[in-house]
């Protein structure tokens, strides 16, 4: 088959056929070279791009030779483009160094960053898609590719999925270059190294890993590189897809890769010896290795004073537990262990449950499902209508259901509490796991009571404890216990006390600052 195609290709003059399949087209593009004739070249390019209207051709003359600029509309900056044109025309007038062809121009075009030559159709077109402009001259079978990137990007705004009260208001945007600059602006050491990859043979998405050379362990880097290079796919549109390709535990509910929209988080992570993976086209960067505890940490913990940091972190841990276990425990306690509740509370709950047609477990399950539905609807709806849904859901539906005696207030309180708690989990990808786990726990609690809940807890524990993220135990520093790292887990200590980097990722250069920097009044020896 292939041989036949090859023979067929060889026999025919290179031209772009319209009825070819994707693989054949790509093979053909990789083979086709530019011709000497300008018009023929332009026609070939236009045909290869399917006469797409956003492929623009600007003809001009260099002395007597006809030439053309080829570029994709809106991918290039118009000012750069006009400068380029100006250069080509003005410089060509200077008689001393003009020669036919393009070689003279390479040294003369100085304002533009990257200049290279390309002869293959495939090369030219893919560079065009990156925002380059091709300069093609009649009588020359090579195109000069000039970097004229300049498309519109979203401006840097506050991250929407990860807000914080204190700290930087900058969030990543869709442009890889801007994102890298956001990181480098925070970490100015020359040892912040960036490696670039191109993943996805159709999308050709730019993916960069950023790390601090000499701090991130070489094994980790090698592992990240090999996992990235192993990816063989046609399209990467979002970092979530990379996450699925490189994650350690694909079947686990728990994410082993941290996703973040915040440059300060990425900076903090690579300063600990982690590796950040930035993807073009998405504001979400990935950080590996990611331990579970990182998903419960928020930037505010570090920017607020220590007692508040400790308090909100403890609160958040509690919220995480409540979000996963409260409805299950409620069902278990009511159905199996009514003796656990204080008498008066039990009487009140019983009173409100009089006439409710569903068993407790079903009731909770039902309200939880309705709530999840509301939440999903609220996210997908346009911003203007979003709040309306919550009003309808919370006020109208809830109130009416209670009034009608279909559900009991107790169950609604529990579900509402759970929902609030689940919003306190700072990272969405873990918050969403809590929602799934919750349903399983409800079922277990409804069947085995608190022992069911305990079995669920055990099962979950075995699972998370057995996970690893790029070689680092997922549940450290709690299981395995890493005493030195507890300083930034359940609690957080003062910044001047965090002398060492996390033991499992920052082992290569463990000390981060001089110990004993507790602030004192005056200098030592000043006091008399």
């Amino acid at each position: 088959m292939f041989r036949w195609i090859r023979q067929w290709l060889r026999s025919e003059p290179p031209r772009v056929q319209e009825d070819l399949d994707l693989g054949q087209r790509e093979a053909l593009l990789r083979k086709t070279r530019l011709a000497e004739n300008l018009e023929a070249n332009l026609e070939t390019l236009q045909k290869a791009a399917g006469n797409s209207p956003d492929l623009k051709i600007r003809r001009f003359k260099i002395r007597k030779t006809s030439a053309a600029l080829v570029f994709f509309e809106e991918m290039v900056s118009s000012s750069t483009l006009s400068e380029l044109l100006h250069h080509l025309q003005v410089e060509s007038m200077k008689a001393d160094h003009y020669r036919p062809g393009l070689d003279w121009a390479k040294d003369r075009i100085i304002d533009n960053a990257e200049i290279s030559e390309a002869a293959l159709l495939d090369d030219i077109l893919s560079r065009l898609a990156l925002g380059d402009t091709a300069v093609i001259v009649n009588g020359c079978a090579v195109a000069l590719m000039v970097d004229t990137k300049g498309w519109e990007t979203r401006s840097i705004i506050e991250p929407t999925a990860e807000t914080s009260l204190r700290g930087s208001r900058e969030g990543f945007v869709e442009s890889l270059r801007v994102n890298l600059s956001l990181v480098r602006r925070r970490v100015r050491t020359p040892n912040l190294w960036v490696e670039k990859y191109e993943i996805g043979h159709l999308t050709r998405t730019g993916v960069a890993i950023a790390f601090i050379k000499g701090l991130a362990s070489e094994e980790l880097l090698a592992e990240v590189r090999s996992r990235l290079q192993r990816i063989d796919t046609d399209a990467i549109l979002e970092s979530g897809q990379i996450e699925e390709f490189i994650g350690d535990a694909p079947f686990s509910l728990y994410p082993t890769v941290l996703r973040t929209e915040r440059p300060d988080r990425v900076a903090a992570a690579i300063l600990e010896g982690r590796v950040a993976i930035l993807t073009d086209g998405t504001p979400f960067a990935l950080v590996v290795p990611a331990e579970f505890i990182m998903f419960l940490q928020a930037p505010d913990d570090y920017y607020e004073i220590v007692p508040i940091g400790v308090f909100i972190r403890a609160l958040r841990g509690l919220a995480g537990l409540v979000a996963a276990f409260l409805p299950g425990v409620y069902v278990a306690a009511l159905n199996f262990h009514p003796e656990l509740l204080p008498t008066s509370l039990l009487i009140r709950i019983t009173a409100t449950r009089e006439g409710v047609p569903f068993p407790v477990a079903f009731e909770i399950f039902f309200i939880e499902s309705v709530f999840e539905l509301l939440r999903e609807a609220g996210i997908r709806l346009p911003r203007a209508i979003g709040p309306a849904i919550s009003i309808v859901g919370a006020l109208v539906l809830g109130e009416a259901a209670i009034r009608a005696g279909v559900v009991s207030p107790g169950a609604v309180i529990v579900v509402a509490l759970t929902a609030i708690a689940s919003f306190a989990v700072p990272v969405f990808s873990v918050g969403i796991v809590g929602r799934l786990v919750r349903f399983a726990i409800i079922i277990l609690g409804a069947v085995f009571g608190l022992f069911g809940v305990q079995f669920g807890l055990l099962l979950l524990s075995i699972h998370v404890v057995s996970l690893r993220s790029f070689g680092v135990p997922y549940f450290s520093p709690l299981g395995p216990l890493v005493v030195a790292d507890l300083k930034d887990a359940a609690i957080r200590v003062f910044t001047w006390q965090m002398v060492r980097r996390p033991k499992l990722v920052g082992a290569r250069e463990p000390v981060r600052q001089r110990p004993g920097q507790r602030p004192r009044v005056g200098r030592e020896g000043d006091r008399s």
Binding site: F336, H337, F451, I462, S466, F475, P480
Partner: protein
């Protein structure tokens, strides 16, 4: 495959939890008619006895830090006798722990889920533990790390909750009938320490196997401290006679006190601690059992053996006793004492003899180790 290692700290926690869980489960033996208010004395005697046994077990283990019991039994006693001794030890794992699970099941059944069939409670526990054992000793070690604080918190909270109800008079008179009764009462708990033979399989998995004896002694000391405290508090709260009457004195103690009007009947949380401890116990034993069997039969990977092993475990724990009466008779000092002690002393007597013999034969070989 990477060899899995656990830190000595994790072994300490595992041994502590194994020991404390068994203690809570077999506490009635301590307080039963023999020792009465001197249960805590019995607990101290138990400590002394356990220290001796730990020295027998771990003492030999640290002399062969890279080998499990199966391997060094093979080396010390020869192929077939070695295998026989190893099988005896492995049998003790199976039997003792199946009894532990049974007690837990009985507790759940008589205190909470009165209508649930025993087999469901037991098989769920065994299945979960088998899963952990399958994931390997590292996972068990991490789980011990994770659960230890919860376990200790629950035990301490249970003890503290009873402070208002202590009647120290219940602890008197001290040793009114001499040392005889507490000595008799400590026979069973000492014999239960046959369970500590898991050390013989776990030592090679340690990061510092030569420190194993020290580690396990620390664990046993902590566990015994817990035992003495629990025994004293149970007697002070319930009275020696009422404590001896109840099937699960520790739970009864918790349910008979109210912390405030809004926090009563919290024994469900204490059983959570028990469940966690038992889970660590069973998964450790399943791991050691499977690993031991794999080595006896020369199988490379123990993992495929775990699930098949869960079956006899469930069966044995359900069918070895018909009812609570038999279970309690089994723990009588005159029955369990000789049985448990034989489980330790027979294999270890042979092994130590072999060790001494080898030492006589090849003194230079010993130096190399």
């Amino acid at each position: 495959m990477r060899t899995e290692k656990i830190a000595n700290r994790q072994l300490l926690l595992i041994v502590y939890m194994i020991r404390s869980t068994v203690i809570i489960a077999t506490l009635p033996v301590l307080t039963s008619a023999d020792a009465l208010q001197d249960a805590w004395v019995a607990a101290i005697i138990t400590y002394a006895g356990t220290v001796v046994i730990i020295n027998i077990i771990a003492g030999l283990g640290v002399r062969y830090p890279q080998q499990t019991l199966v391997e060094f039994a093979h080396r010390l006693l020869g192929k077939w006798p070695g295998k026989a001794v190893a099988m005896l030890v492995l049998w003790s794992f199976l039997h003792l722990v199946s009894v532990d699970i049974r007690i837990y099941g009985e507790m759940i059944l008589s205190e909470f889920l009165t209508e649930t069939p025993l087999v469901f409670v037991i098989s769920t526990m065994v299945l979960l533990s088998a899963y952990a054992a399958y994931m390997g000793v590292e996972v068990i070690g991490r789980l011990a790390d994770l659960f230890f604080p919860v376990f200790v918190l629950m035990v301490v909270a249970s003890l503290l909750a009873t402070t208002g109800a202590w009647r120290p008079e219940n602890l008197q008179p001290v040793l009114a009938r001499g040392l005889g009764p507490p000595l008799r009462a400590s026979v069973t708990p000492i014999a239960v320490s046959a369970e500590l033979m898991v050390l013989a399989i776990l030592i090679p998995s340690l990061t510092q196997p030569r420190e194993a004896l020290k580690t396990s002694l620390v664990a046993i000391t902590l566990a015994s401290l817990t035992l003495v405290l629990v025994a004293a508090v149970v007697v002070a709260t319930l009275g020696a006679e009422a404590g001896a009457r109840s099937v699960f004195p520790f739970l009864r103690m918790i349910r008979s006190v109210g912390i405030t009007e809004f926090l009563e009947r919290v024994e469900a949380f204490a059983t959570l601690a028990w469940g966690l401890g038992l889970f660590i116990t069973v998964s450790t034993f399943m791991f050691c059992g499977a690993r031991g069997i794999a080595q006896v039969f020369g199988v490379q990977d123990y993992r495929p053996l775990v699930l098949p092993m869960a079956v006899p475990w469930v069966v044995l724990s359900i069918h070895s006793f018909e009812d609570m009466f038999q279970l309690r008779t089994f723990f009588q000092p005159r029955i369990f004492g000789p049985y448990g002690l034989a489980l330790i002393l027979v294999p270890y007597g042979l092994l130590w003899a072999g060790h001494a013999f080898q030492g006589l034969l090849h003194p230079e070989k010993r130096k190399r180790l």
